[in-house]
Subunit: 132 residues, 6 copies
């Protein structure tokens, strides 16, 4: 199995509902380092799994949708706790859609699964992985 | 599959039995950066896999049991080579027990597997992963 | 010249005033990895520049004052752009005060200068250094 | 499942054939940080998965075959795009051969799979994993 | 003293003249992680040392001049050993020129010194610092 | 001012005398990532500050003197607290001697100062810098 990964980051504000979150119930924020990993069993022409340039642009476009935002104010996240786990899945779902839209180019169909990891600090992270 | 990870570290002394270890047969030591990853297929209420606060405290408590120790002197490790591989499994076994004791709180039952990685330096590491 | 450093982090929300900030004029957030470096020309008894345990606790206490906050709402930052540069100085000023209050213990008087670095992402940071 | 990893690096020149590569069609170069991970279900005598000393030497020897080279000039890569994905597989194939040659020593037969990750920068990487 | 830093990277080929370079006399290559640090004694309006957006664009433009190149073929480096030390100075000299051209905007005049660090691997780097 | 840096690591055991050290009074251990930085105002023939190959070998030789040791048992450290600060100076003093012995080769005389940083974990470090 091959994999290719690219890294981006976003700087957002948000707050959480639920006593379990303690002080994170207040409006605070995070820099998320976003790692998106593309996986597939074989390489396409030119010996690439995906066009890494297009992969990077696709991730940048997905990051731009939430970058410099207060996530509490985004309609798509209304009433939702935008935890690191949740956001990892959000980015993965958006990337899966980008692949299906052909935004990775002709090589995109070789990607069979994805993993998105969000580092919220140097000591904590969350990830989501799924089939394409 | 979701995952959530937290990082701790321990500073220990130990020695190894066996010619394969070369100079590491002598009493020496290590800082182990300890990464504990919790995995599960779905999120609990509030969009979390585990309460990351409790997860961090559980890992800190497990680390504290061996931190600032000469592992050669600990009864639980008597006659055992406390290699990085072995210690990764030790931490995982202790975390599995912590989960079964309910120390991760109500969300803990959603964790179906664990992975513990110990970095012994910037160029070497070992890990152990297993079902809960 | 000796130096000793400890690392903490904070997760905050804030916004900036001024066209130069572009999209960062909106309410957003950041994880700041906070590195505080203590410097001095000689070591105190026991071969330490500072008691690193106390240094870590002092930095944690300073971080706690702003952690999980919307900085726009803190009276001490009213009308102020809490840029990374500014916050580096803020942390340094607070640490200087902590040293003068004796919170680093008897070794604290050997610290002649400080440097505080805030990493806002894996690709951008700011720092402030000054005499104690 | 246990895993043990070691890190090396190589500094090479190469160029790519194919419009998808854009400016990377020109002769350029890369430092690849090479992480090789050995995996197996159980530990051998002494509580090790592999002799990490031998594992490191084996990886260094494999790296040395391509280090400080223009990969375009190596007969074994003639007419091949030496992408990061391809090189990850190349290193894995060479390590599999090294294991079969007994270069990891008696513990080597416990390794059931390998993963090789090549970091081409702080924001992009590729990997290949396979059974031994 | 304040400082602000931004990170880029380049992927280049080159070779060195001189026996001291051993195998690096052959055509090989490197990924250089390029850190550019801007320093100044005070903050401009808005509490910034420099417009970090413009600083990042300026560094990206300087990196683009050498990115994906065989440095041996660039007229500006004819007959020159483009060592890591040399390239650190090259980037700094180009950034100094960019500042003098006003490419950092109105805040640029507050920058009194620069430091450029190039990481050639995870275990080796070089830097150059100088007044503006 | 130019600088060139190389990285090594050591894995040692030791204990500290003095109540200030709390649990670190017991025999424990550490992996120290050792960064040695060479500085000088100008480059020698070939555009290098030092022969980085020789610099790396010199640092490796200095590290080997203490690697895999219980520092409490080394005669040269008898009755001494081998704190991170102290060890940073120890490594620097040894490197200064290596330079004076000509072990960096003909370029060594261009090095005017040194900085040695020891990372004891991902969240704590110490350094010592001095003239050659």
């Amino acid at each position: 199995m091959y994999s290719v990964g690219v890294r981006e980051h976003v700087m957002i504000a948000h707050s959480f509902q639920g006593e379990v979150f303690g002080p994170a119930q207040k409006l605070h924020g995070a820099t998320f380092i976003v790692d998106c990993e593309f996986r597939g069993p074989s390489l396409a022409e030119g010996n690439i799994l995906v066009d890494i340039g297009r992969a990077g642009e696709a991730l940048k476009a997905i990051a731009a949708e939430i970058n410099y935002q207060n996530l509490d104010d985004l309609p798509m996240f209304a009433g939702i706790n935008t935890t690191t786990e949740f956001l990892a899945r959000h980015v993965l779902d958006r990337m899966r859609a980008a692949i299906k839209d052909g935004r990775l180019g002709p090589g995109g169909e070789g990607v069979t699964s994805l993993k998105v990891t969000l580092w919220e600090s140097h000591v904590a992270w969350a990830a989501y992985e799924a089939e394409v």
